[in-house]
Amino acid sequence: DTAVSQTPKYLVTQMGNDKSIKCEQNLGHDTMYWYKQDSKKFLKIMFSYNNKELIINETVPNRFSPKSPDKAHLNLHINSLELGDSAVYFCASSPPVADTQYFGPGTRLTVL
């Protein structure tokens, strides 16, 4: 009965490859997010969607492209992966009051 789920949990890939991470929430929230957490535990927002519409787009390379097919799903596609993309990526969702953001379990991406 997972609230925010992500797949895959682990992703190991070579430099230059293209990969996708999927996120689904069953909480009925309108707003979803992607965060990147680096090795020093720093959690930084990348994107936010509200009802399938992009509302936050931080300074992220355009190799990263979010896609929201419906308000329960927010996928992250990454082109031409680089070593520096290695991190844990978290998906989150929230009701209109954004303080209570519900996070998924994370996807640990390792680029070799």
Binding site: V4, K41, F42, L43, I56, F90
Partner: protein
Amino acid sequence: QKEVEQDPGPLSVPEGAIVSLNCTYSNSAFQYFMWYRQYSRKGPELLMYTYSSGNKEDGRFTAQVDKSSKYISLFIRDSQPSDSATYLCACRNAAGNKLTFGGGTRVLVKP
């Protein structure tokens, strides 16, 4: 300089002790302040949130905000080994959904 700063720790305390955590921030527009707990290899979960200055208590947890000093604190009373985790503070301004997180403080509560 990051907008929200935290000492990374680790902060090691014996079981039953009070854990004292804090963050400083630089953006005067921040109005809402949160503490998230993150267990190893899990996503963060919301523990406490406060609006503007003041105190908020919830069981063993007390959150304090001093906007004049741009300083936020979290106290955990009667700490338990299950409190061992990384604690992240987060701030946001009045408008929008963007949370700005600190780097987290790792806490170890030893039995």
